[in-house]
């Protein structure tokens, strides 16, 4: 199978719906170790994204993702706005003029997104951030594709690794972002950014499975 521009539109719509459903949960996670605004901010951003989707419905994957990125940058604020905004912008640049993505092209887009987040956030793995969910997910997807898995199977493995990575943030000590001010007290809480990243990954899988 391939990921089409139509799938990407459905993926974004599903992310917006999941974020809205999980808004209070994300905010609750953030209030434990951050500043209690993650769910509200992302919901504001993806609600704005939904109003823009019709203008790119017939466009290539790159154009769709770039529109998502610029809209998030302009509406979310906080740290997650620049981070997710940059991620979608970079993924959009990697998929410019493409109407269908092979597994390798999807992988390249996700790698570009991850690198964008690391650069913008000056962060790396093990610091209790969204990178701890996205990084293992991208690794597992890459390994599965290299081993010859079909795209759907590879995505399942990637999302499973992403979920593991999200759960692995619970015992981590935060050293980036506002949670870092808690020091030892950040241990024992799941990172809200890793959680929203997993929500997005599972939405991508759900769309691929329905395709």
């Amino acid at each position: 199978m391939q990921i089409t521009a139509e799938h990407v539109i459905k993926f974004i719509e599903l992310v917006a719906a999941r974020i809205k459903e999980q808004r209070d949960y994300l905010t609750r996670l953030d209030s434990a170790i951050g500043d209690a605004d993650h769910g509200v901010n992302l919901d504001r951003g993806f609600t704005a994204v939904l109003t823009k989707l019709s203008s790119v419905a017939d466009k290539d994957v790159g154009a769709i993702l770039k529109t998502v990125g610029t809209t998030l940058v302009s509406t979310v604020g906080g740290a997650s706005g620049p981070l997710y905004g940059t991620a979608f912008l970079r993924a959009g640049m990697a998929t410019a003029n493409r109407f269908e993505l092979s597994g390798d092209e999807l992988l390249a887009a996700l790698e570009a997104a991850l690198e964008g987040i690391q650069t913008r956030g000056k962060s790396t793995r093990g610091e209790k951030t969204m990178i701890d969910a996205i990084g293992p997910g991208v690794d597992a997807l890459r390994a599965a594709l290299a081993a010859g898995d079909d795209l759907l199977t590879a995505l399942q493995k990637g999302v499973a690794a992403c979920e593991e990575g999200m759960k692995a943030t619970v015992p981590m000590l935060a050293t980036k972002g506002r949670a870092s001010y808690l020091g030892e007290r950040s241990i024992g809480h799941q990172d809200p950014g890793a959680t929203s990243a997993y929500l997005m990954a599972s939405a991508l899988l759900e769309v691929a499975q329905g395709a």
């Binding site: 905010t27 209030s31 500043d35 209690a36 605004d37 509200v40 901010n41 504001r44 940058v73 302009s74 509406t75 979310v76 604020g77 906080g78 740290a79 997650s80 706005g81 620049p82 981070l83 913008r120 956030g121 000590l173 050293t175 980036k176 972002g177 506002r178 870092s180 001010y181 808690l182 020091g183 007290r185």
Partner: protein, 332 residues
């Protein structure tokens, strides 16, 4: 949650509308992106802008006016503003002499200001930035996002605003801002938590008989949670780490800022100023200037912070220069 609001999602815009109605002589409010711009600012000077999450009023919008900020960018409550706001503010105040961004050291603020500075630079506007990081409560800067920008931000905006008003160029404004940041240290404490309107409940639990020492301005935890103590002991807990850190020395002259977190009455702030004055006097440090009041707040949080800036003739002259904003006014 009991608050004087209509709906949580409208708090920032409705408060901005109130500011616009109250101070048309000083400022103009633009919406989408939301920015507060000084009315009638001369264009032939360096533009000074700042911004950050709302909920810290009067910072920053209350400091827009003569001799301080040319524009402010208010984000959602406790959420950094977006790059569109800083870009619009930068464009609005740019008169060709460049624009200084005053940024408090929080991950989101720094990233959003960086993106805006890139966009402004792409338009050919010269932008310089200073990041304030004066909160000594953050002990381990290596393993955290670094020291937070708190009370020094207010004093820096006044001092650098005065320099820009007097015609200082962009490089001088940036150097001056760094000097104030480098010579200033702060620490705060909370007696109660605060409630972000859209969250609906307090950001953290603080039992009736405990206080958070070293709290951040979003209710971020500080160095430790301890039993509530006498004001004299609390003053020692805040002043001690500040004095040690710079360090402030015998014979120094300081600007002493006792700030309320939003829910603290002025009588308690003056009581704390009295304690601070005793501590400084005992250490041979003299207070040459002072500011007492709630200027960098955390919604309705009860508590206070101390900020000390080591002063010299240059800084004192700029501090004394006339200022006319909604929240600070003297000399005119």
């Amino acid at each position: 949650m009991k608050k004087l609001i209509n709906a949580p999602e409208n708090v920032v815009k409705e408060a901005l509308a109130g500011m616009a109605a109250a101070h048309p002589d000083l400022l103009t409010v633009h919406y989408d992106p939301d920015i507060i711009v000084r009315a009638g600012a001369p264009k032939a000077k360096v533009g000074i802008i700042s911004g950050g999450g709302s909920g810290h009023e009067p910072m920053h919008g209350g400091f827009v006016g003569y001799g301080m900020l040319d524009a402010a960018c208010p984000g959602a409550v406790f959420t950094s503003p977006v790059p569109d706001q800083m870009l619009a503010a930068t464009q609005a105040v740019n008169g060709g002499k460049g624009v200084l961004h005053i940024v408090k050291n929080y991950t989101g603020d720094v990233m959003n200001f960086e993106m805006a500075a890139d966009l402004a630079a792409a338009e050919g506007i010269e932008v310089a930035s200073v990041v304030t990081n004066d909160d000594v409560a953050v002990e381990n800067s290596t393993w955290t996002a670094g020291r937070r920008g708190v009370g020094v931000t207010v004093l820096l905006e006044k001092i650098v605003g005065a320099a820009a008003e007097a015609g200082a160029d962009l490089a001088s404004c940036k150097a001056l801002a760094e000097k104030v940041n480098n010579q200033g240290r702060s620490m705060g404490m909370a007696l109660t938590a605060c409630t972000v309107p859209h969250a609906g409940k307090p950001g953290f639990d603080l039992p009736d008989d405990e206080m958070e020492v070293g709290v951040g301005i979003h209710g971020e935890p500080g160095r430790r949670r301890v039993k509530v103590a006498a004001a004299s002991e609390i003053a020692e807990m805040l002043a001690g780490p500040i004095l040690e850190d710079l360090p402030f020395k015998r014979g120094d002259h300081v600007l002493a800022f006792v700030n309320g977190m939003g829910g603290t009455p002025l009588i308690e702030l003056y009581l704390m100023y009295n304690e601070l004055n005793k501590i400084l006097t005992g250490n041979g440090i003299s207070i040459s200037r002072q500011l007492i009041g709630s200027y960098i707040t955390s919604l309705e949080m009860a508590g206070c912070s101390f900020t000390l800036v080591k002063m010299d003739d240059e800084l004192t002259k700029l501090w004394d220069a006339p200022v006319h904003t909604p929240a600070l006014r003297w000399g005119m």
